[in-house]
Structure formats: C-alpha cells, structure tokens
Amino acid sequence: MLTQGDEAKVERAPIVVGKRKTVLETLTSERYIKWFFLIPLLVVLGVFAFYPLFYCLYMSFHEAILIRAPEFIGLENYRKVLHDSLFWMSLGRTAHVVVVCVILEVALGLGIAIFLNREFRGQNTIRGLCLLPLVVSPLAMSLMWKYFLDPQMGIINLMLSWIGFPKIAFLSMEGVALYAIMFMEIWKWLPFSIFVFLAALRGMPKDAFEAANVDGASSWFTFRKLTLPMLKPFIMIIALLRLMWLIRIFDPLVGTTQAGAGTETLDWYIYRIAFIRFDIGEGATLALIALYMTIIIGVLLYRQLIKALGAAR
C-alpha cells in the first residue's frame, strides 16, 4: 500500500539527467558554485602569496647572494640575523615609532573627536577637508615635509625663529629625525582616528547617556564607565590597523632622511639587505621575521574586524 509520501517519491523519481554535464555546468552547479567564484582569487593567491612564501622560506635556509646559486646553510641566516645588532636597532626604532604614534593618535584622535562631536554649520565641508591628508601619497607627503622642515627655507624653522628658537635641522639631527618622521606619520593618520572615533561616538545609544544624566553622574564618570567601554573595539581596530601599517613604515623615509640620522626602520633594513646588498638569503629571513610579527597582529585584528562587521549587520 502506498502512503502519500511514497506517491510523492514516485512522482519525483523520473527526473534523471540523461546526458553528462559539461565542465562548466558542473562548476556552476549548486555544489561547486562557491568555488567557481573563487577560481580567479585562488589563482592569484597561489601565484602571488604561496609562491613568494615558499620562495622566501627556501631562501632563508640558503646562502644566496646576487645571482650565485643558492647554497644550503641550515639555520645560519637566522643565527646571523638574531645576532645582528643593526637588526635589533631597526626593530627597536620601528617599535618606538609604533608605540609613540599609536598612543598619540588614539589619545589626540579621541580628544578631537569628542570636541567635534556636535552638530555645527559646515561640518561636512570641514570633515572632508580634514580627511584629505589620508589620501596624500606617503612619498609626496615626505617631500612636502622635507620642504617645510628644511633648516634654511622651511616654514617651520622660520616660525620657530620668530619666537626666538634657533634653527633646527629636524631631518638630519640624530635623535630628532625619528621624531620628525613620527610627526609626519601622525599628521597623515590623525584624521583617521578622529573620524573613526567620531563615527563611533555618533553611533552610540543615547538612552544610556540620558539615564546617566538623570542619575546625576559626573561627565568624567560617564566618560569612564560608559563612553570608554563602548569605544574599546574601535580603539582596538585603530591600534591594530596602525600597528600593521607602521611596522612596514618605509615611504616617509625615502623623501626625508633616507634612513640617515638614526631613522633606519625594519622595512628599510630589509630593503637594504635584499635590494642594495642583494643578500637574498638574509633578506628573505628578515622578511619572514617581519611577516611572522604582522601575522600575529593580523590574527588579533581579524577577530576584531569580523566582530565589528557582525555587530554592524
């Protein structure tokens, strides 16, 4: 005896595909379509991400200078790098830049964002103008500031001389030049943290603040207990993105100090080893070490990004 369900089965059964599917049909079938869309990306990833990774990994175990055939030397490159005081110094400088820039950008950015967090006339124009440094090419920026910071005809030195300061060769003085680089970086990226914080402040739920207001909480208390915790994911995103970008700081050095005056950062050091000395083995080793550091940050950042994207949905 047939039940209703069996009847339905019998009716569906005759739908059988007679001819074999073509490759394109198979690829675009419900099962493989998601991989079909990914084919171009996977090809590019294979060529431009996996191949260089394995090349660098291979070279890091070899002595390879210029075009001489690479010679296997085990971990010698790693030993050399880890005992290299220039490497540690460049790493230390990079860390110095990262710490100063991230702290100042977050602190100043938050302060200015709170200051700007109100409706005022012309706010869109002012916002648009303040965002402009973000799209200025880092190299053009470095040349711009080379001109402004020049000891002879720089406008900054001229202004300093009005208030009685001596002329300072910002970009060629050991100990000052690195701060000049940080200053340029902060100039370019401060709008970023300002407007991330401003977007965050504007997106905050109003009722919590009204409740705090009714309860007579002081504004400092509200800031510490309400605003700051709500801003935490945004602080994380700014800090991690900037960390990621600052680790590879290179362009601002090109137009200004050319890594002189104690400003050689990690990426410049890698560049010098790999493309000026053409020591590919050591260069690859350094590049991989830089990569490992960024990947650790990347894992943290990715979690924050996905969390933020999920919350925004």
């Binding site: 379509i33 402009l132 799209v135 200025v136 005809m153 991330v196």
Partner: protein
C-alpha cells in the same frame, strides 16, 4: 549666560580653525609654492608674490613628468580592472557561502599585511627572467596582488548587506546562480563596487615601494619620479612642489568625493564613517 554660550562657540570655532590649519594648510601651501619663482621660493612665508609658471614649464618640458603620469594612469587603471574582476566573485562567494569557513578569507586578508619585501624578493628574480622588470605589465600584476585582498574584504562587507531573500526569490523564478549574480546581485553591489574601485585607484596611484624596486625609466611611476628632484647638492624645490602637487591632485579629488566612505574603506568596512 549668553556670554558663556558665545565664549564656548568662539572657542569651538577657534579649535576648528586650528584643525583646518594643521591638516589643510600644508597641502594648500604646496600648491601655492608651486607658483613661486626662484627668488620667492627662498622666502617661505611670502604670501604675496607674482605667480609664475616657470616651475610647471620646467616640469612638463624638462622632466619626464608627463610620461610618468601616463605610466601611473595605465598601471593604476589596468590593475584596478583586474582587481575587480578577481574580487567581485570572490567577495560574493565569501559573503554568501562562507567559503572556507573564514580561514581562506583570513589568509586573503593577511596577504595585505605581508611586508612588501616578501613578494618583492622572489618576484624581482622572476620578473627579471621573464623580462617584466620596468614594464607596465609587471607593475599591474604586483598591484593586483597588492590590492586584491583589500578589495575582496571590503566587497565582502558590501555583499553581506544584500539580503539573501532576494536571491531566493530569483531562484524560485528559475534563474541559475550565475544569472542571479549578474542580474540581481550586480546592480545592488554597484555602489559598493564603485567605492572599492576608487579606493584601489587611490592605493595604486600612491603605491611607491614596488614602483621603486620594479621600474627604472620606461615604466617609472609618478611617485618614483618625485624623488629625482634632488641631487646630492641641490634640491629643486619649485619643480618638486609642482611634482608633489600633481601627484596628489587626483587622489585629493577622489578623496573629496569619497569622504563619506574613506573611514569605512580604511577600516575594511568595520567602521561606517
């Protein structure tokens, strides 16, 4: 009371003025400087001077600026077109099917964080063997690598905003996945794709490291050309100001029209500015 409000307002506008001065004045000053003659340029604060085009004439006729602009434009546009061809389907796949359960998307994103030397070292030798050094093609490929992960991740965010129900409706109507992508999804992603495109254009135009290592004369980009303005002794400040101004003008215009999306783009879509 009214006095206090007025004072507060005045202080606020003074603050805004300081902000504008800090962020806009340096950019504006470079454009002003580019019109200064040889003598005026020695006095950085001189605001009133007779503008001259001598720096522009020098840049356009004596320096390879025009060719460099053409090179940059070719490489920028071509690589962006390729990036979109790769990233649109990929972003869709990640957003709709969660392909690779997030691991593949993560790996794609990490390529953006690779220190540039990781790719530059191997490809320098590959390109030398294939004759791609100092060619447009070589740079286009590198910029494809450089922008692809960013574009994919940003588009992933835009695709996620499109409700799945729309696709179900189209599937009920009997459309295939490919047709749905073309006819239903594509018109909806167009604004997001436009934003992503402009970002890729700006990033490629501003890119320096790969251009510096992989080009010499033929395919030299604008950014690379800028650093040829100073020799060991003299810096040609006037022509340099022209070069800087022209190098940043396209991105300033792009940035102005994109202002609502800059924060969103730079945070990979996590913060809606």
């Amino acid at each position: 009371m009214a006095k206090a409000v007025l004072l507060k307002k005045t202080l606020f506008w003074i603050g805004v003025a300081i902000l504008l001065f800090v962020f806009v004045f340096p950019i504006a000053w470079i454009f002003v400087t580019s019109f200064k003659g040889r003598v005026d340029i020695m006095v950085p604060t001189r605001i009133f001077f007779i503008p001259t085009l001598e720096n522009y004439i020098y840049e356009f006729y004596k320096m390879p600026l025009l060719r460099e602009m053409k090179n940059s434009a070719i490489v920028t546009v071509a690589s962006t077109a390729l990036v979109m061809a790769v990233s649109l389907p990929a972003g869709y796949s990640f957003a709709r099917f969660n392909t690779g359960e997030g691991h593949l998307l993560f790996f794609t994103l990490t390529t953006r964080m690779f220190p540039p030397a990781v790719a530059a070292i191997p490809f320098f030798f590959v390109f030398r063997n294939w004759g791609l050094l100092d060619t447009h093609m070589g740079l286009v490929l590198l910029y494809l690598y450089f922008n692809m992960s960013f574009a994919t991740f940003l588009l992933y965010g835009f695709f996620r905003e499109i409700p799945e129900e729309l696709e179900y409706a189209a599937m009920v109507d009997g459309y295939s996945r490919l047709t749905i992508f073309r006819r239903v999804i594509f018109p909806l992603i167009a604004p997001g794709a436009a934003i992503t495109t402009i970002f890729c254009l700006i990033f490629s135009w501003n890119e320096f490291f790969f251009g510096y290592i992989f080009t010499r004369t033929v395919a030299r980009t604008v950014s690379f050309g800028l650093i040829s303005h100073w020799g060991s002794v003299v810096v040609m400040w006037g022509p340099m100001a022209v070069g800087v101004g022209i190098a940043i003008l396209p991105t300033l215009i792009g940035g102005w029209f994109m202002q609502r999306f800059i924060i969103r783009g730079l945070t990979f879509g996590a913060v809606k500015g």
